[in-house]
């Protein structure tokens, strides 16, 4: 992890002040790396440092083998010399330019006669073909965000940086945009660094996560591993219950029941039908609050997913009356949030076989 990958992005930032930083991270092409942490942790500062808008005292940034910044060697490229697409939290569109103008403004590297075609491609990509002549003020929040993404892509960046891209859009739009990004990032094949304070963004989208608190990396690794280990600070964004994020694939379709079977290792779950071919990769998020434990198989329930699991560990939760029970469904981790009272009544202890009743599963299809 510490050894940066040659292709992709390698970043090392260190300074005592004014914004304390001690960060080392690597981001691989074609994957989303989440920079996760509370407000004020320095996430945006890291992003700005990658883009060259800010240079901490000790800075090293390398992208695809090209050194963008190395303060030790006295070499720091200005932002316009770095091939980076940055989507600002407030989008930062040029207020005086229409959508086409926004994109053209980021295309100085494209031969003049190829620009209009590229604009058309990008507008199609973000579904804004009808809006080329609109000024930002005449666009909705979601449309502005798509313009911001298209403008970042217009630069043909070697790395795409997203600063809280979903912070200021409503719930429904957020789902749609998350899905678009999930699909898009694979097609791009460049490292994507996503800054967020919302665990849901991490769980739905990211392959890797770097947890930042007060300018320091407190955890990093694959999202599936870290969520299962409970190493992520879930007390963020009002989420007090841990969750697991699992990489899974579509295992069976049941059109007559309008259901789909998705499998993460030994854990096979029925979820509302998703339109994806067999074998398609999906990301499952299961909140510990949605998992109920039973010692005997209950009958006559409306829920579909009852799986046999073994208790691996029982931990304190954020709330004193609750416990987090870590389960294993053969190799696949699962977390359940139960009361301390239930732990006593059911006689839960490591090694105990139980049934996990899973009420809800959030599914993100990447394909």
């Amino acid at each position: 992890m510490a050894e940066p990958v040659a292709r992709g992005l390698a970043v090392r930032l260190r300074q005592a002040g004014p914004i304390p930083l001690d960060v080392e991270l690597a981001a691989a092409p074609g994957a989303i790396t989440a920079l996760f942490g509370p407000s004020g942790a320095g996430k945006s500062t890291v992003l700005r440092s990658i883009a060259g808008l800010y240079t901490p005292a000790e800075t090293f940034v390398r992208c695809n083998g090209e050194v963008w910044a190395d303060t030790a060697a006295g070499r720091v490229l200005p932002p316009h010399r770095r091939s980076v697409g940055l989507v600002f939290q407030d989008y930062a569109l040029f207020p005086h330019l229409d959508v086409r103008g926004q994109l053209l403004a980021a295309m100085s590297h494209v031969p003049r006669r190829a620009r209009e075609r590229r604009v058309a491609e990008l507008l199609a990509l973000v579904h804004l073909e009808e809006y080329a002549e609109r000024l930002p003020a005449a666009l909705s929040g979601g449309q502005q965000q798509r313009v911001a993404i298209a403008r970042a892509l217009a630069r043909d960046p070697a790395v795409l940086l997203l600063d809280e891209p979903f912070a200021s859009v409503d719930r429904a739009l957020r789902d749609a945009l998350q899905h678009e990004l999930a699909v898009l990032h694979r097609a791009l094949g460049v490292p994507v660094v996503l800054v967020t304070h919302d665990f849901e963004d991490v769980a739905r989208l990211a392959a890797e996560v770097v947890v930042l608190e007060a300018g320091r990396v407190t955890a990093k690794g694959s999202v599936a591993e870290l969520t299962a280990a409970g190493s992520l600070p879930f007390g963020l964004a009002g989420k007090r219950e841990p969750a697991v994020a699992l990489d899974a694939e579509v295992a069976a379709q049941h059109p007559e029941r309008q259901l789909t079977t998705v499998a993460a290792g030994a854990l096979a779950l029925l979820v509302p039908a998703i339109a994806a071919p067999l074998g398609a990769r999906v990301r499952l998020t299961i909140s510990s609050r949605e998992v109920i434990l039973a010692t005997e198989r209950p009958r006559g329930l409306s829920l579909h997913n009852i799986v046999a699991a073994r208790v691996a560990e029982i931990r304190d939760a954020a709330q004193p009356e609750l416990r987090v029970v870590r389960l294993a469904v053969e190799g696949t981790p699962l977390l359940a949030l139960v009361t301390a009272d239930a732990v006593r009544n059911l006689g839960l202890a490591p090694g105990r076989e139980v049934l996990a009743l899973i009420k809800a599963v959030a599914v993100e299809a990447f394909a």
Binding site: D90, F94, P95, H96
Partner: protein, 221 residues
């Protein structure tokens, strides 16, 4: 109407605007975006001509430009003529007294551009010049227009400093506001009235343009 004086005033105003605005933009951009140690002092100095009596400004300019001073002799060597009581001297004086009228509106307009928008220009691949041309100027143009109008109108109307530095040499330093004073002294009320009315109209139009530019939302540039 003293046509020679009017023409001189227009020339003076045009030269002042053409020379001053680019310099004012550079200074305003520095003050707005890259505060440096002592930039507070520079800002105060920029506003100084606003509060100093014109005669005081004129007095010091005369001292600086006059043939008795070291700076005056140096400038005379550069320009090939003594600057006091010459049109060139008038231009120098006009540039200095107009600094606040040119710098302040441009600085305010530049400072009003959200920092993220300028950052967006940089990460979109724009260097300083392209960012100025494609983002800063189109967004700050109301400030530039205000600076243009205020400087132009103020130059036409400047009296005290012009009288101190330039005297009232016809065709050389007698501007229209000096000519009005001369005509009044000579009891030529009609000519004075015509020229005064002209300056009044110019000033009202200038303020109207400056005001509407200040209110105008940035649009496609």
């Amino acid at each position: 109407m003293d046509w020679i004086a009017l023409r001189l005033s227009l020339e003076l105003a045009a030269i002042t605007v053409v020379v001053l605005l680019p310099l004012a933009f550079a200074l305003a951009r520095l003050l707005a975006y890259r505060p440096f140690p002592g930039s507070g002092f520079v800002e105060a100095a920029v506003a100084l001509p606003l509060v100093l009596p014109p005669t005081v400004v004129g007095f010091y300019l005369l001292t600086l430009l006059g043939a008795q001073s070291v700076s005056g002799r140096a400038l005379a060597a550069v320009f090939g003529e003594p600057l006091a009581f010459s049109f060139t001297g008038l231009v120098v004086a006009s540039l200095i007294v107009n600094v606040p009228f040119a710098v302040q509106p441009i600085k305010n307009a530049l400072a009003a551009i959200p920092p993220n928008v300028r950052d967006a220009a940089r990460v979109s691949g724009m260097g300083t010049w392209r960012s100025i041309r494609r983002v800063e100027l189109p967004l700050a143009w109301p400030g530039l227009l205000t600076a243009f109008v205020l400087t132009f109108a103020h130059t036409l109307g400047e009296f005290g400093v012009v009288l101190m530095v330039g005297g009232a040499i016809p065709g050389e330093t007698r501007t229209i506001s000096i000519a009005i004073y001369d005509r009044v002294q000579a009891f030529d009320e009609r000519a004075a009235g015509a020229m005064a009315l002209f300056l009044l109209v110019v000033s009202v139009v200038a303020l109207g343009i400056a005001h509407s530019a200040g209110r105008r939302a940035p649009r496609r540039g």
